[in-house]
Symmetry: C2
């Protein structure tokens, strides 16, 4: 394979890989949505669906890691391509954890539903939208190397933190006014912390995207030219 | 540089890198220990030390990432060496999050100390020892490619989970018996969740070590021989 062909082949493979990462993101987003829907809808069946897991996500996770290591080993990429592949391994791992958080939310929902009903879910339904939008945009910024979009994900972290504290205050207020709400409210505190962590993972991904793109001009100076390295 | 020299140089660099990762682990372990000590000792000054952060950890994190990407770009390693380097980037990221968790524990401790004292810290001091030992052993397993030690970290996750539930039950019992304990107890619930997450990161690291070593015979078959790849 000459260097131009090798280079085009690599670019195609990297593009496919990124699409698979985004597909993995779509699947775990759906799990979070289902877990939150189960909470709002008081739907035990849906919590069980989430807790049982999703073999499609497990398979995709193995596939993405395989693609990354194969591309790293066979093409020996440099600079932005190298950083993109290492970031893909990290993002894959972040997405797996988001899948775990969907299970955590579903389990907290099961415990929540076993206690007397609270007057409301406070701001949890609204809070849930934010980390999902952050996760979605973080993955879009990854596929398009869009630093501005990645930065907008980081900027939303403060709003998520404020919502989390508001939810905490409201739930605390339930507990202080009526001890019979303590167990249900405690499980909603845990749900809000799991949602916060979905936002943390979106932030990790956005930071990786900024590193992929922004380090381009700083670090690849010492490395051999791109096509030469790929042609081996 | 001939291939033997290049190979020896790479092995030395990888060894130095691994030692820096373990040093980073030692520093974040110390932060968790200090945060837990501040809680046990009701020491606000120590919580502030943790919250202010540690520039040494920040610098080490950048240094470790730099070392990984430089080694990946210049030596284009294969198989177990490639997996070790990508794992080092992931482990570096896990350790950074453990540093963040030390800050979270210190902040929860500050809020805890602003409320009336609880009868006891329940089993939190004992619970704190487990994730720290897991983290320590996970890093030891990384430096020595010790799969059995990594597996022993994974095996301890269930015990940590049981301790977490025991702590939760005891704190809930305080809250149900005396509403004046609710705010202090809630902050201890959060501390116990942060400690659980330290264990999660230790588990991530142990899983990476198992992947580094166990994938050796499965995946490197398709890759070119080690010294040839390094000699470029």
């Amino acid at each position: 394979m000459d260097s131009t062909k090798a280079s085009r082949h690599f670019a195609e493979e990297l593009d496919t890989l990124k699409k698979r990462v985004v597909e993995m993101g779509r699947l775990v987003e759906e799990r979070i949505q289902l877990a939150v829907h189960a909470l709002i809808d008081r739907n035990l069946g849906e919590t069980r669906t989430v807790v049982e897991g999703d073999t499609e996500i497990d398979q995709l996770q193995v596939e993405v890691d395989d693609r990354c290591f194969t591309l790293l080993a066979l093409h020996q990429p440099m600079a932005i391509d190298l950083r993109s592949l290492v970031a893909a391994v990290k993002i894959n791992s972040d997405l797996e954890r988001v899948g775990d958080l969907a299970v955590n939310i579903a389990e907290a929902t099961q415990r929540y539903l076993s206690h007397p009903r609270l007057p409301s879910l406070v701001d949890i339904p609204r809070m849930a939208e934010l980390p999902l939008a952050m996760l979605h945009d973080a993955l879009q910024s990854f596929i398009s190397n869009n630093v501005a979009l990645a930065q907008s994900v980081l900027d939303r972290d403060d709003t998520l933190d404020e919502l989390k504290m508001e939810v905490f205050r409201d739930l605390l207020s339930y507990m202080l006014h009526d001890a019979r709400t303590i167990e249900a409210a405690l499980n909603l505190v845990l749900v809000s912390r799991h949602l916060e962590r979905v936002g943390d993972h979106a932030t990790n991904i956005a930071e990786d995207v900024i590193f992929i793109v922004a380090a381009r001009d700083v670090r690849h100076v010492a490395a051999p030219p791109l096509t030469e390295a790929r042609a081996h």
